[in-house]
Symmetry: C4
Subunit: 213 residues, 4 copies
Amino acid sequence: VREDDERPAAGPRTRDEYDVSRLLALSDGVFAIAMTLLVLNVPVPQLPAAATDEQVRKAFFDVLPNIAVFVLSFLLVGVYWLVHHRQFMTVRSIDQRLAWLNLIALLTVCLMPFTTSFFSRFTRSVTATEVYYGNLVVAGVAFLVLTTYGHRTGMLPLREGRQALVAARSLAPIAVFAGGMLLAPVWEEGARWAFVALFPLNLLVNRVFSTRR
Amino acid sequence: VREDDERPAAGPRTRDEYDVSRLLALSDGVFAIAMTLLVLNVPVPQLPAAATDEQVRKAFFDVLPNIAVFVLSFLLVGVYWLVHHRQFMTVRSIDQRLAWLNLIALLTVCLMPFTTSFFSRFTRSVTATEVYYGNLVVAGVAFLVLTTYGHRTGMLPLREGRQALVAARSLAPIAVFAGGMLLAPVWEEGARWAFVALFPLNLLVNRVFSTRR
Amino acid sequence: VREDDERPAAGPRTRDEYDVSRLLALSDGVFAIAMTLLVLNVPVPQLPAAATDEQVRKAFFDVLPNIAVFVLSFLLVGVYWLVHHRQFMTVRSIDQRLAWLNLIALLTVCLMPFTTSFFSRFTRSVTATEVYYGNLVVAGVAFLVLTTYGHRTGMLPLREGRQALVAARSLAPIAVFAGGMLLAPVWEEGARWAFVALFPLNLLVNRVFSTRR
Amino acid sequence: VREDDERPAAGPRTRDEYDVSRLLALSDGVFAIAMTLLVLNVPVPQLPAAATDEQVRKAFFDVLPNIAVFVLSFLLVGVYWLVHHRQFMTVRSIDQRLAWLNLIALLTVCLMPFTTSFFSRFTRSVTATEVYYGNLVVAGVAFLVLTTYGHRTGMLPLREGRQALVAARSLAPIAVFAGGMLLAPVWEEGARWAFVALFPLNLLVNRVFSTRR
């Protein structure tokens, strides 16, 4: 898509380079599908079709927590999509290792429909909370490894003066979700709401680290 | 994809800009998947494989209303895709807020397979009608906010003389579906068919507001 | 994607034009998802996990007909993708009507996972055969209308001397599947295999009408 | 996307050529969806919502083997995506036969969610192991036929001195999975782990055949 960015300025492609546009197409596809499949965790109530309107209304209120978890997971997958988006804004080239690290990061995203359903069904279980946050921590680490490898090899260069911002942005979700996991056995109710901390933390990170352009 | 449109004419990308082509790829992916998942609301009849042809024929006629709701939802999601398509025809750049507003608009689209199944199963329930139209109203508002923010910031500029047309086009579905919601407790049968008003209303809007180019 | 093809040579976009690349992205997404969802019609046998290998082997042979119908539907959706692909090879522009006709054609493709499951479950029912072929006939007509409208308006121009080939290629599946529908009540077994006629008929059409370049 | 690569340097498109970017969009879409659907093979435990945390924890450990098979299948589909990616890095043009061979290769990928679920449910069955490896063998052969046809016709040219590497890379998965199939009736436990051999074999192939550039 972006000819200038995709290829080194000169010379033919070398042995292990990959086509950036296809890697992004696969990634956007996986994100879009994972986001959309999340809705399958909201069950259609199993009432008979002849149920009264009261019953249907009650059944709808019963699935509202599932809808809330759907919205949360959608926004969190959205956060990771924005992270991926920013990582690849400056992409220069892709080698086989970066392609594999990207596949592994996508794998963690694809698990979200399962862990979302699991969390959604057993919201009050410590285990389910840990599994849900565990998936998000693993995803955070996978994206951090991807960024770090890309930065070290010069394939995903960071603009000058932005390393601290990117590092802080990558570490914020890991810290929040790992914190939620640790909190779960101690204070289950608090752990369930730990994700909320991500939003002010992100704003803080943006404010503290983006002063320099 | 469109180099000319994607980037400001001069200068490097600034801090919070995003890549238009990836945002559109994610959006088109979400629309395509949401549209296709709608068909899962049409259940395959649970007859034994040895059922007589009469039984199979009857079972097929029994799912015809589900197919009708599928067709309706598909076309309504199609309307929103056309709205999104038009919004981003003139896109100049994308900042983090626009990316988030776009994710929220996509979220409302992703809910459609659930609300479609819910409506489809309890067609004669006031609640189900309200949930279905409620989703469409929320989607309409989300797309309107997206357009408004994009227009104000100059990221999604409107061609001169087209503001009224775009506003009318965005408000039409909100009006129709909110009308359906209000009508439902009073005249359920009428509310169920309220969506039909969208099509002549759209033609009217196009006729009234598109005289000037 | 293809700058030369996407836009008229001169002048700004006019009021009702759409962006070709997004329409194709949506279309390819819908085809890809419909193709992949077809596999959901192959049920995983509901044996206990401790079943003997004989039982598992027998259960696998029991789903082979479902796999066969999956393969058939995949290839038939593939035929329609190739038709769509050829239609838009020469696309010049898109107006609102063409966008709608395209959405309607995609709608018929999205129904395939349902009609495939329906046919797959009740293979020996005349009704199921008619529903399956009926979907394919409706899809064929939708693509034919799309081609005809695109050709008449000059948006999807045909290369000189190719009108007869394109017409024959579009009519072949309609003829075969409508034939299958008509045959079903009379000779069910034959109707079930009517699709086979499509492959030699396509070769014949290519041979008869492609002599001129 | 890549104008230079997509079209022959001169002359209008000839009769049977296809648009490379759409074929790749369809392919990436199918890979992305197949990868994401794999997670549907991990069942959400059917405990009552009021289950104790011990029960939920036990239920989670019970689905860990399903998650392991998901991860395996995801990585193996990823291997085939990388193969497809490399095949089309140098694509010059596409004719109808190549488009069909590509559709058939995608078909084998689309079967993976079924065979993964089948294998996942009956891990200790010889038949399930053979069905799973059988799918991977058929996929390997389909991609090999695609490469071979593309190479012979000059549509998917290989860089000089790389034919042996590409052949070895294509044959490695076929050898490993066919070996697993043959091993299954004799040594079931060993067959289940046969896939592990793919990773060192791939490294070996890269080392032996990539010395020359």
